[in-house]
C-alpha cells in the first residue's frame, strides 16, 4: 500500500532528524559556556530529539500492517507521548531558567539578551 510506505518513510525521516537533534544537543550541552545556553541545547534534545522521533515512531507504526490493529494503539500512544513532552519540555525549561535566574544560582555571562531583566526594567522594578 502506498500510504503505508509513505508513513514508514516519513517516520524514518523524523527518527533520523531526532537522532541528529540528540547529537547536536549532546554536543551543545558539553560545549556551551553557561547554564542558560546549555538549557537551550537540552530543549533541542527534548523537542527535536524526543518529540520528533516519537511522532516518527507513530508514523512507522501506522505504516506497519504486520502489527494488525495494534499499530493504531502504538501510534496513538506515540503521538500522545510526543504531544505531552512537547507541552512539558518547554514549561520545564522555562521554570528551570526562571528559578535559576531569580535565585542567581548560575553565572549569566556571556549574556546576549535577557528578556526577563528587560521586562523588569520596563516595569521599573
Amino acid at each position: 500500500m502506498l500510504w503505508e510506505t509513505v508513513c514508514s518513510v516519513a517516520g524514518l525521516i523524523l527518527v533520523a532528524i531526532g537522532a541528529f537533534c540528540d547529537i547536536a544537543a549532546a554536543i551543545g550541552i558539553n560545549r556551551f559556556p553557561n547554564f542558560f545556553v546549555r538549557l537551550h541545547a537540552a530543549t533541542v534534545g527534548a523537542i527535536g530529539g524526543a518529540v520528533v522521533p516519537a511522532f516518527g515512531a507513530g508514523l512507522i507504526a501506522l505504516g506497519s500492517p504486520e502489527l494488525g490493529n495494534y499499530r493504531f494503539f502504538v501510534a496513538g500512544v506515540s503521538f500522545t507521548t510526543g504531544l505531552m513532552i512537547m507541552i512539558l519540555g518547554q514549561a520545564g525549561a522555562h521554570a528551570l531558567a526562571r528559578a535559576t535566574l531569580k535565585a542567581k544560582a548560575a553565572p549569566l555571562e556571556p549574556c546576549v539578551h535577557n528578556a526577563l531583566r528587560r521586562r523588569e526594567e520596563v516595569r521599573g522594578e
Binding site: 505531552m84 507541552i87 512539558l88 518547554q90 514549561a91 522555562h94 521554570a95 526562571r98
Partner: protein, 270 residues
C-alpha cells in the same frame, strides 16, 4: 580532571568487574538455571483466565492483578492498611496544623500554570485509564491512584498549597476519601460472605469466582468484556484510597514552617 576523580572511577569499574567475576565463579552461591517454568508459576499462568476451570480461576487476563487481589488478596489488604497507617502517622505528627492562606507568593509563572492546567486533566485521565484496565493490562488501582496523585503534586508545586486549600482539597476531605476507599476494599472482601450468610450457602473472604463448595461469584463479564469480578471493585477502591492518601501525605509534608512551628512547640495545644 583530578587524580582523585580518576581513582574513584577506576575503583568503581574494578568493583563492578570483580563482583561480576565472583558471580561468574559461583562466589554468591549456585545460580539456578531453569529452562522450564516452575509448577506454581505454570499454574498461575494457566488458571488466571481459564473459563474451563472456574473454581481455580480469577477470570481476569492480567495475571499480576489476579494474584495480587484474588489469590493473595488478604496479603494485599494488609499492605494497603500498612500504607494507611503510615499516612495516619504523618497526619498525626502535624495534628492541629492548618494551611494559612496568604503565606505564599502565589506559585510559579503564567507559562507553567497554563501548562499545568492543560496537563492536569490528562494526568487524571491517564490514572483512571490505568485503573480501569487493571484486570486486562499491566497496571491497577495502586498505579492509577499514584498517577492521579501526581496531579495534586503538580498543582501544589505550580499553584501553591493555598490554591489547593481554596479549592477544597484539605486534609480532612482527603482522609475521609482514603478511609472510604479502604472501607470499600474491606466490604468487597466480605461481600460474598455476607450474601452467603443471607442466602445460607458457603462463601469465603476474598472470594471472587465460584470456589469449591461455594457457588457465589462476582459478575465476570460486562457486555462480553472480562471485568475480573471483584478485581474491578478492588482496583477502583484502591485507586480512590491511594490517590487520596498520597495527596494527603504530600500536602502534610508541604506545610510551611509558620504553619507547623506553633503546634510543634505545643503552643497550639490546650
Amino acid at each position: 580532571m583530578k587524580v582523585t576523580d580518576l581513582v574513584v572511577a577506576a575503583s568503581i569499574v574494578a568493583l563492578a568487574l570483580l563482583l561480576s567475576y565472583a558471580m561468574f565463579l559461583g562466589g554468591i552461591g549456585p545460580v539456578p538455571v531453569r529452562s522450564e517454568l516452575r509448577t506454581l508459576a505454570l499454574n498461575y499462568i494457566l488458571l488466571t483466565y481459564n473459563p474451563a476451570k472456574i473454581i481455580y480461576s480469577a477470570l481476569a487476563p492480567e495475571g499480576v492483578t489476579a494474584i495480587v487481589w484474588d489469590y493473595r488478596g488478604l496479603d494485599t489488604y494488609f499492605e494497603t492498611a500498612v500504607m494507611f497507617l503510615a499516612i495516619i502517622s504523618v497526619v498525626a505528627l502535624t495534628h492541629g496544623c492548618k494551611v494559612r492562606i496568604g503565606l505564599g507568593k502565589g506559585g510559579m509563572s503564567l507559562i507553567v500554570k497554563t501548562t499545568t492546567r492543560i496537563l492536569m486533566p490528562l494526568i487524571v485521565l491517564a490514572g483512571v485509564s490505568i485503573t480501569m484496565h487493571g484486570w486486562l493490562t499491566p497496571g491497577g488501582g495502586f498505579q492509577g491512584g499514584a498517577t492521579i496523585a501526581v496531579a495534586t503534586v503538580l498543582a501544589l508545586v505550580t499553584y501553591s498549597i493555598d490554591t489547593l486549600a481554596k479549592h477544597g482539597i484539605r486534609k480532612k476531605i482527603l482522609l475521609a476519601m482514603r478511609s472510604t476507599g479502604l472501607i470499600g476494599i474491606a466490604l468487597t472482601a466480605v461481600a460474598l460472605l455476607i450474601i452467603g450468610l443471607a442466602v445460607g450457602v458457603n462463601a469465603y473472604i476474598f472470594q471472587n469466582q465460584e470456589r469449591m463448595g461455594s457457588p457465589l461469584a462476582f459478575p465476570a463479564y460486562f457486555s462480553g468484556t472480562p471485568t475480573g469480578g471483584s478485581l474491578l471493585f478492588y482496583n477502583l477502591f484502591e485507586a480512590f484510597a491511594v490517590s487520596a492518601g498520597l495527596s494527603l501525605a504530600i500536602i502534610v509534608t508541604s506545610l510551611r514552617e509558620e504553619e507547623v512551628k506553633e503546634t510543634l512547640r505545643g503552643e497550639g495545644v490546650e
